[in-house]
């Protein structure tokens, strides 16, 4: 465990080096947030008031989404890890007496975390200062904030565990870009990255109850905005824990099976 924590710390500190890239990201994300809010404001203007999320809830949803973008955006992938699968450089990693799966999990998690910490606070700070409808507000109570932190932490773990399957697919396809694009398109469609899941038709919502994607994205954002509360939150936390166990065991198993078959050519 300590070994993996060292990886975590190492990548976290390395991630903090990319400060100027982070500021560019802040500008872009802030602009996206504004644009999405403007689009939804127009939809709300013309609606009959019968919508699954209120405009205030949607505004909270989008600012949080943009603040956590570096973590949640399914298209973000670790180029170095992906390249090592294709080029065979992962042979060097396999020499180490460590589990590749856990090692990659630790380093992907920490580099995403570093990028998010650098970007999130300026976005949230500016959005707190926005006028009128655009303003990001504090959650309704300390209890809600606590539940948000719990669901968010589990969601981030699920997010990275799901992403691990993308790298697994790369072992099979030996293609980085199309694998990422296909995986990320489905993942963002099912997780709430494309549009908030509350606006999806019933059959997709039903399908989603059996899938982990929403637990890694949609749930914490809706907890913060107050769109889901009470027992529904507790059930979601339970499901998150169960899915973390399932995804971790499955991923670990698939990786160790695949790595036995791996052929590294040349040298």
């Amino acid at each position: 465990m300590r070994k993996y924590f060292t990886f975590f710390k190492m990548r976290l500190l390395a991630g903090f080096q990319y400060r100027s890239a982070a500021w560019a990201g802040v500008g872009t994300q802030f602009f996206w947030g504004l644009m999405y809010i403007m689009i939804f404001m127009a939809f709300y203007r013309s609606s009959d008031g019968n919508s699954p999320m209120s405009l205030t809830e949607i505004v909270q949803y989008f600012w949080l989404q943009q603040a956590l973008f570096a973590f949640l955006f399914a298209f973000n992938h670790d180029a170095k890890i992906a390249k090592s699968i294709i080029s065979g450089d992962l042979a060097y990693e396999l020499v180490k007496p460590l589990s590749l799966y856990k090692m990659w999990f630790a380093s992907i998690f920490s580099s995403k975390l570093a990028a998010t910490i650098l970007r999130s606070w300026p976005i949230l700070l500016i959005s707190f200062l926005m006028p009128g409808t655009y303003r990001f507000v504090l959650p309704s109570s300390f209890g809600v904030f606590g539940l948000f932190l719990v669901t968010l932490s589990f969601a981030l773990i699920i997010n990275v565990l799901l992403g691990m399957f993308m790298y697994y697919l790369m072992f099979i396809t030996l293609e980085i870009k199309s694998t990422v694009t296909i995986f990320a398109n489905f993942s963002s469609f099912l997780s709430g990255g494309l549009i908030p899941l509350a606006f999806m038709p019933l059959f997709i919502t039903k399908l989603n109850y059996f899938l982990p994607f929403r637990l890694g994205y949609d749930v914490p954002l809706r907890v913060y905005s107050g769109n889901i509360a009470g027992s529904e939150v507790l059930i979601s936390i339970g499901l998150q824990v169960i899915w973390i166990i399932i995804l971790f065991s499955l991923g670990n198993l698939l990786f160790s099976k695949r790595l036995k078959k791996i052929v590294v050519q040349g040298g």
């Binding site: 644009m35 403007m38 609606s47 293609e175 870009k177 199309s178 296909i182 398109n185 606006f199």
Partner: protein, 258 residues
């Protein structure tokens, strides 16, 4: 022009060499458009309307902006990667050849894997035009062609500015990507829904609206003003200052060595 076509041919040949990978790329690039349009459709299902706009009208705007964006990505990818050419010192090599630097940068990389997304958006466009009962008259087709050409020229301008910026700060052409992608996303909806400052930006600073919202008003029968119909001709002028900025910047180019 002949040089450019031979560039195109070489690129195409190289890319279809890996057939399965090429097909996978085409598929992966297309599902993005399908999912985005589905997203817009679901929003229309959840809310009754978007101001006075119908889903078909928004789908029309969606198809136009995505078609232009994807064709631009197909043709101009080489300029988008101009910063990589600088970093690798490739630009020095291009400069000693007796051909235009822009032509060589464009010819260096043509992303044919975008062809699937282009065709898909063209199909969406034709379906939208049909369901909106817009005539395929000579005039309307001429305006649509002008819209696409004008749009391509504007994207070329954005790419040129990105390439120019990357001469000063070697990590710089992200700006072009953000503006292209952001502009594309913004134009998927009628610009009347945005705040005034943003509408102004999309009309007068980087004139994306002149190759989408404004001429489409005419095609949708919401305006009879021919000036609206031929707005792409005015918007396309945007490329001229971009071209000069690029030219000027190139004269300050210093090799990154190696």
């Amino acid at each position: 022009m002949k040089t450019y076509f031979s560039y195109l041919k070489i690129n195409l040949k190289a890319q279809i060499e890996h057939r399965l990978a090429f097909l996978m790329m085409i598929f992966s690039q297309s599902i993005g458009s399908v999912f985005s349009l589905l997203g817009v459709y679901f929003l229309f299902e959840s809310f009754s309307a978007l101001d006075s706009w119908s889903f078909e009208e928004v789908a029309f705007m969606f198809a136009v902006t995505n078609l232009i964006y994807n064709v631009a990505q197909l043709l101009f990818r080489g300029l988008g990667h101009f910063k990589d050419l600088i970093k690798l010192g490739e630009v020095d090599r291009l400069l000693i050849r007796p051909r235009s630097i822009i032509l060589q940068a464009l010819g260096g990389e043509v992303a044919f894997n975008k062809i699937g997304a282009c065709i898909l958006n063209l199909i969406i466009l034709i379906i939208a035009v049909n369901s909106l009962n817009i005539d395929f008259s000579f005039m309307n087709i001429l305006i649509l062609v002008l819209i696409v050409l004008g749009g391509l020229v504007i994207f070329l301008g954005v790419m040129l500015i990105g390439a120019a910026v990357s001469i000063y700060t070697i990590e710089g052409s992200e700006i072009a990507n953000i503006i292209s992608y952001g502009g594309k996303e913004a134009m998927q909806y009628p610009i009347t829904i945005y705040d005034k400052w943003f509408r102004g930006f999309l009309t007068f600073i980087i004139p994306f609206a002149t190759v989408n919202y404004i001429p489409l008003l005419y095609l949708l029968g919401r305006s009879n003003n021919l000036l609206h119909a031929f707005a792409p001709l005015i918007g396309g002028l945007f490329v001229i200052p971009c071209f000069y900025i690029f030219k000027r910047s190139m004269s300050y180019y210093t090799s990154s060595g190696s």
